[in-house]
């Protein structure tokens, strides 16, 4: 019944996040006809540098529906919101449940700390999988409503890349939760790291090549149809390492 | 056993229980051959440690006041044992009554009498002047 307990602890974060993502996905689709109309007359953008280049690029991409979905949904809205919830769901756990939160009760049960941690991690990851795939499926489902179509295969691939690469943020929050006893610092720190990485990648072109966001958005797949294997592997390895470090921390922790 | 032992006095609870049983026999509340409450129900009722009740019963059996019949429970000893208790009690009562009367005649207050008895029982010595005495 620890799975049930884990669910109870994260369910609101999950449900709210899922709802927001679904609404956002549907909204992104339904808004396209308006966007397409505006883009018929290309605006002149006066911003120079990397940001300006990106804005122009986004405009160009959006002329075509597939490009629009990628640049607006998979590269922007989806990762931003999903990473936020990945951090929120990764936060929590034994250390923050200190006294009054049930930690001592949990620790008095005949179960190893490793198993407790594993259950919490597994529940979080399961929730994040749902949050990665379901909203994108809504894109495919609602596209016909505006007279477009979006490939199910593309949706699945992008969702999978988002999830695998994005688990690094979940694991980061998870790890920080075994270091700080409150729930604010792990969440805040992980968000700051994500924000810093995102901004740097947007602004400095060289960073983008190695950025985790590039893997998450599966840019290579979008442009060339190739999967970012190296990036996915590296992300998975990094995630695993952080979860392992979290397990080590918890096993050494005094309560 | 109708009343709770006083757990805050310096007297061990099992001794208090033993006293209550003996007093019960003396006053006739417990008759020879009568069954005493079981260890578990008694501990529950008085909210004291079952081991304490067991100890009291064991000591009472050792003194011949009660019998522990295996499987059946604790019973007030047959006439011989109970009679011994009540005889001993009556003899003791007489001695104490005489002593108290003599002390009162000397002007010793009741509170002082009580302390003297307690001190005597707790294992002490009289002051050197009144001629030593071993505990």
């Amino acid at each position: 019944m620890l799975w049930y307990k884990s669910w109870l602890e994260t369910r609101w974060r999950f449900l709210i996040g899922l709802a927001l993502l679904i609404v956002s996905a549907t909204g992104t689709v339904l808004v396209y006809p308006r966007v397409a109309g505006i883009l018929a007359a290309p605006p002149k953008v006066d911003v120079s540098g990397e940001i300006g280049r990106r804005v122009m690029e986004a405009i160009e991409l959006s002329r075509d529906y597939r490009g629009y979905v990628w640049s607006q949904w998979f590269r922007q809205n989806m990762p931003q919101m999903w990473v936020l919830f990945a951090v929120l769901i990764g936060t929590g756990g034994l250390l923050s449940q200190g006294s009054g939160g049930g930690a001592l009760f949990t620790l008095s049960l005949p179960i190893t700390r490793q198993r407790l941690l594993a259950i919490r991690a597994a529940t979080g990851l399961a929730e994040l999988v749902v949050m990665a795939f379901v909203p994108s499926l809504f894109v495919t489902m609602f596209s016909p409503a505006i007279g477009q179509s979006y490939s199910l295969g593309d949706a699945l691939v992008h969702s999978a890349c988002l999830f695998i690469a994005g688990t690094t943020f979940f694991s980061l929050a998870f790890l920080l939760s075994t270091v700080f006893a409150d729930i604010w610092r792990p969440a805040l720190l992980a968000c700051l790291v994500a924000a810093a990485l995102a901004v740097t990648a947007e602004v400095v072109r060289e960073f983008w090549r190695f950025s985790v966001f590039r893997v998450m958005t599966a840019e290579i797949y979008f442009r060339d149809g190739r999967l970012p294997w190296l990036g996915l592997l590296a992300s998975a390895a990094l995630s695993t390492a952080m979860l392992y470090a979290a397990a080590r921390n918890i096993s050494r922790q005094d309560f | 056993m109708l009343f709770r032992p006083n757990s805050s006095s310096g007297v061990p609870i099992y001794l208090q229980l033993m006293e209550q049983v003996k007093h019960g026999i003396e006053t006739g509340a417990l008759r020879p051959g009568e069954q005493l409450p079981g260890i578990r129900p008694l501990a529950e009722e008085l909210v004291i440690n079952p081991n304490t009740v067991a100890k009291a019963y064991r000591e009472l059996e050792h003194e011949g006041v009660i019998e522990l019949r295996h499987g059946a429970g604790a019973f007030v000893a047959g006439n011989a044992g109970a009679k011994k208790v009540s005889e001993k009690f009556r003899a003791g009562q007489a001695i104490v009554a005489a002593a108290v009367e003599r002390l009162r005649a000397r002007g010793v207050t009741d509170e002082e009498i009580r302390r003297l008895f307690e001190a005597e029982l707790a294992g002490l010595a009289r002051a050197p002047k009144s001629g030593g005495h071993s505990a």
Partner: protein
């Protein structure tokens, strides 16, 4: 009855040490809890009671010394799981999951213990008047304690560890809790180890105690033995009480007050009386000592 056949102590601590960030909470604590006893663990706030309990349950790791529960090393993670399978625990804060209801807490706990006693759970639910669908966070303090106790008692455990079980409870609920404990111990073979600073309840139900102060055991033994061995001896002198160092075997504390020397001994009164007479005491008074006095005096003697 509580006593079992085993000889080995259920809990055994030898020179236990535990430091938290440079502060030594436990410094060389010794403890021996025999099977079948109701063991009271007395101490002031901050004396190291909760820390010791956490070490027993594997929630904290000792910095030195050894602790065994059921003969198993408490600081080994695997052995600790075994220990916890046979132990029921109630924390000082009656730690539970606020967001669950009574029924869910019972089902969750039951799922971990193959020897769960559903019959007892039903009985206690009724006796304690706990509503199964009330959320834990909506329970009063007394009901929270009773629920925590229910969860600990129904595990089919051989050892019950309670950290200040009746703290903050009104006398009626306190009595209910003590009665449930005593009843349970009477019918199941188990050992109870509880920490407290309510002397009265320790007096009432414990058969063995240990007094801990500043991370060390300063008194331990069977309560009845302690009651028989501790004596206060008042020595009265003709002139001022002698200023000499009054030491005899068993002397715990000596207080001078004008012509009176008040000596607390943990080994009977005889040696103290001898010594007192040797110093010229003109009168001697011996009184038994309550557990409260034993506690206050031995702890104060450490200051």
């Amino acid at each position: 009855m509580g006593a079992t056949v085993r000889d080995a102590p259920v809990i055994e601590a030898v020179d236990l040490r535990k430091s938290y960030e440079g502060v030594e909470a436990v410094r060389g604590l010794n403890l021996e809890v025999p099977a079948g006893s109701i063991f009271g663990f007395l101490g002031r706030n901050g004396a190291g009671k909760t820390t010791t309990i956490k070490v027993l349950l594997g929630m904290a790791r000792p910095t030195g010394g050894g602790v065994r529960v059921f003969g198993l090393p408490a600081d080994s993670p695997e052995a600790s799981v075994d220990i916890r399978r046979r132990t029921g625990f109630v924390s000082e804060d009656k730690d539970l999951y606020d967001y669950m209801d009574v029924g869910e807490m019972i089902r969750l706990t039951a799922s971990f213990y193959p020897r769960w006693r559903a019959d007892l759970a039903q009985r206690y639910l009724r006796a304690f008047e706990l509503p199964p669908d009330r959320k834990v966070k909506a329970l009063s303090r007394g009901m929270r304690t009773k629920l925590a106790l229910l969860l600990a008692l129904c595990r089919g455990a051989e050892l019950l560890i309670l950290d200040e079980p009746t703290s903050g409870l009104d006398p009626a609920v306190t009595e209910e809790v003590l009665q449930a404990l005593v009843t349970h111990v009477a019918s199941e073979a188990m050992t109870v180890f509880f920490s407290s600073h309510q002397i009265a309840e320790v007096d009432q139900i414990a058969d063995r105690i240990a007094i801990i102060d500043r991370g060390r055991t300063i008194v331990s033994g069977a309560l009845d033995d302690l009651r028989e061995n501790f004596r206060r001896v008042q020595l009265v002198f003709d002139g001022a009480a002698p200023e000499v160092e009054f030491s005899a075997p068993g002397v715990v504390r000596v207080r001078r007050n004008g012509r009176v020397l008040s000596v607390l001994s943990n080994a009977g009164a005889e040696r103290v009386i001898e010594k007192g007479r040797a110093f010229g005491a003109v009168s001697v008074d011996v009184v038994p000592v309550t557990l409260k006095e034993i506690f206050l005096e031995t702890v104060a003697a450490e200051d």
